[in-house]
Symmetry: C2
Subunit: 203 residues, 2 copies
C-alpha cells in the first residue's frame, strides 16, 4: 500500500519526475475534493504542474486512475479480511483484528479509501467495485455469526445491522482522521475496538 | 421536515404541478447520484420531465437547491440537539435521545442529509454548512463530558474521539438505510444505542 504523497501545485509546479503512484494519488485527491465526474484530466495535469501529454505518459484515462486507486484500496482491505479469516484466534478476537486492520488501511490510504466509499455505481467499473464491497460484507458476517455462537458477541441484535453499524463506525474514521494528528491510527483503532466491544457505558 | 418524495421520470414525465419541495427532493437525488458539480439544472429539469423555464419558476439556481436542502437537514438535526440539551434527563439519557433522534432525521430526510454529509467546502455556501456541522459537534461534546463526569460514560477514552466515533456510527446508517426495509428507523436507532452504550460483547 502506498502512503499518501504530499503533492502541492505551488511547490511541485514544473517539476517533472512523478511516479505513476504520485499521479494517481494527486488525481484521487482532486476526485475527492471536486467530485470524480467534475474532474478532467486537464485538472489533474494542472494540479501536478505538468502538461496533459506528460500526464498521458503515466496513465491512459481517468477511469484507469479510478480503477487503480479503488483496486489498491480493496486489495488492502481484502488482505485484512483474509488474515482475520485464516487466523486461529477466537471469532471475537478475529473481529477485533479486522476492525484494527481496516482502520489502519483507512488511515494509511485515506484518499483512495475515501474514493472507494463514495462510489455511486455510475459506470460498470463502479458497479464492480460496489459488488466487491458487498462481497467484503458477506465475508465478515460469518465472523460475527461465529462470535455470536461462541458467546463473544451478544446475540440479541440483528447480525446484519450489527455488522453494518460496526463497519460504519470503522469507515467513519476516514472523515476526520488527520495524518500526523494527535492520535495515531493505532490509538484510534484501539478506541473503536473498546467502544464497539465494551460500549461507552462500561468503565 | 419533508418525507422523501418518490419522483420517477417514467411516471411523472410531462406531468406539471410539482411543489418546490418536490423539485428540491428530485434535484438532491440527482446531486447524490451524479455529484453536485456534475449536475446541471438541465439534468434536474429532465428528471422531472419539465422544461428548464418551468424549473426556474420554482427555483432560481442550483445553489438555492443545495442551500434549501442542506439548511432543512441541519435545522432538523439542530432541533434534535436543542431538545437533548434542554432536557431534564441525565447526560447519558440525553445522549441516547440524541442518537435516536439523529437516526430518525437521517432516515426520514435521507437524501438531504446524504448531501450534507458529502459536502467538501467547494463554495462559501458549503463552507458555511461545514461550519454549522462543526458547531453541531461542539454542542454535543459537553454532553459527552457531562456523561463522563456522571459516570454514565466511561472516562478512559478520549472525549473527542468517542464523540466522532459515536456520530460516525449514527451517520453511517444513511449509507444502507432503505425506506420501507426490514427494520424501521426506530429499530435501527435502538440497535445503535444498544451497541454504542452496551457494546457488542455485553449480553
Amino acid at each position: 500500500m502506498n502512503p499518501p504523497v504530499q503533492v502541492q501545485s505551488s511547490t511541485h509546479r514544473g517539476r517533472p519526475g512523478y511516479s505513476r503512484d504520485d499521479v494517481i494519488d494527486a488525481a484521487v485527491r482532486e476526485f475527492n475534493q471536486r467530485g470524480y465526474e467534475a474532474t478532467s484530466m486537464g485538472h489533474v495535469a494542472s494540479v501536478l504542474g505538468i502538461s496533459k501529454s506528460a500526464l498521458y505518459h503515466h496513465i491512459s484515462s481517468k477511469e484507469e486512475i479510478l480503477d487503480s486507486a479503488v483496486t489498491r484500496a480493496q486489495d488492502s482491505l481484502d488482505a485484512v479480511v483474509d488474515e482475520a479469516i485464516a487466523s486461529d484466534a477466537s471469532a471475537g478476537e478475529r473481529i477485533r483484528s479486522l476492525i484494527h486492520g481496516a482502520i489502519a488501511v483507512l488511515c494509511n490510504d485515506q484518499e483512495a479509501v475515501t474514493l472507494l466509499l463514495r462510489l455511486r455505481g455510475n459506470s460498470e467499473l463502479e458497479k464492480r467495485a460496489l459488488q466487491r464491497r458487498r462481497e467484503f460484507t458477506r465475508r465478515v458476517i460469518p465472523l460475527i455469526d461465529a462470535a455470536q455462537a461462541s458467546g463473544e458477541v451478544r446475540s440479541d441484535l440483528d447480525t446484519g445491522v450489527l455488522t453494518r453499524l460496526m463497519f460504519g463506525t470503522v469507515n467513519s474514521v476516514i472523515e476526520w482522521y488527520e495524518p500526523g494528528g494527535r492520535l495515531s491510527p493505532d490509538e484510534i483503532a484501539r478506541h473503536a475496538v473498546v467502544l464497539l466491544f465494551g460500549g461507552a457505558a462500561r468503565d
